[in-house]
Amino acid sequence: MAKAMTKSKLVETIAERTNITKSRAEEVVNTIFDTMADAMSRGEGIEIRGFGSFTIRSYEGYTGRNPKTNTPVEVKPKKLPFFKVGKDLKDLVASKAHIPLPEDDDDDDDDKSDDNDGGDDEL
């Protein structure tokens, strides 16, 4: 339960669930995320009803400062994908909010901070 769902576990689950081979399931999973990444790299948004939507936000460049050395740092303009959770998924997640979250099973730093996402997790 507490283990993260990785792409390869997703592939296995889908193979079982839809009765296709793992290699076919893998092709489909890869095609889906490649298709989505391609759309976003064209600047296109994606809407998956019930799951959520992705939009591309543009950020202007600015001169930052390294807080340790106080040296100015040029931050270039960039684009980042922004995910907004869909109503179905949002309600589903909220409906289980009384159940404690499972322990993390890895040491990724991908969820330690909220510093890199514009701050507004809910629009």
Binding site: M5, L10, T18, T35, V85, L101, P102, D108, D121
Partner: protein
Amino acid sequence: MTKQEIIESVYAKVGGFSKKEAQDIVEAIFETMKETLANGRKLKLSGFGNFVVRDKGKRPGLNPRTKEKIVLDARRVVRFRPSPVLKAMINGEKAPDSDE
């Protein structure tokens, strides 16, 4: 881009499925992703990004329009953190050597 276009892309690029089969499999994938997150599990899609579920405590806030003090309720949210590969693609840069 909509889910329908993703289904069509799967149908066109992965041979051997009928449109109905392609649709059923794509739906099953998003359903599985939803169930995973509903159970509070992390979803790690290498090369694309990670979806994580976080609990947010209740906190004081302001109504941005009236500046009135309000209490924002505790809630459970889904966050997406794009992988370095996806970020590079979106910015038209060369993908970094390693993902994650």
